[in-house]
């Protein structure tokens, strides 16, 4: 920054690098886990976003890295809230 005019410019937008969002959901059975995974697949297709997913028989962990969070925010995507809603409904 050699240009003195920069001194009066608005401060640059902070280059916030969000930490990876890790969300773990536990389920009572494999059937519930599977159902949630299928719905997450539909959600991914709809929102064209594919998080990293880890799962075992009765749990699912969803990871959304900084880049993913930025992309979703830019599109005003409701990906994460829909994910929470699906998980909550799936544990009924």
């Amino acid at each position: 920054m050699n240009d003195a005019s920069d001194l009066n410019a608005a401060p640059p937008a902070p280059q916030e690098r969000l930490p990876t969002l890790n969300r773990r959901f536990d389920f009572g059975s494999y059937a519930e886990t599977r159902h949630f995974l299928d719905q997450m697949a539909d959600l991914s297709r709809r929102e064209d976003y594919y998080p990293n997913v880890s799962f075992g028989k009765t749990y699912v962990n969803i990871s959304i890295d900084a880049e993913g969070q930025a992309a979703l925010a830019e599109r005003n995507s409701s990906f994460t809230s829909e994910m929470e809603a699906l998980a909550a409904a799936g544990k009924a």
Copy 2:
């Protein structure tokens, strides 16, 4: 080993603890990844074994821990070879 008789005894059966088997499969598209995951779900149901699975848009990582490997071996399960065959077919 303070007991001298141990020197002549047969060696104890090795308490082999197999390292976790991690197998990564890469795919050319999300559709291929998805197809493989669906087939793995069927395989899990059939063999009643649920490995830990991680996946993103174009990869799947399957982890089978020592306990899982022992359980599958005891049942003479063809889980791992079927998994390899599904992945190979899915990348056609």
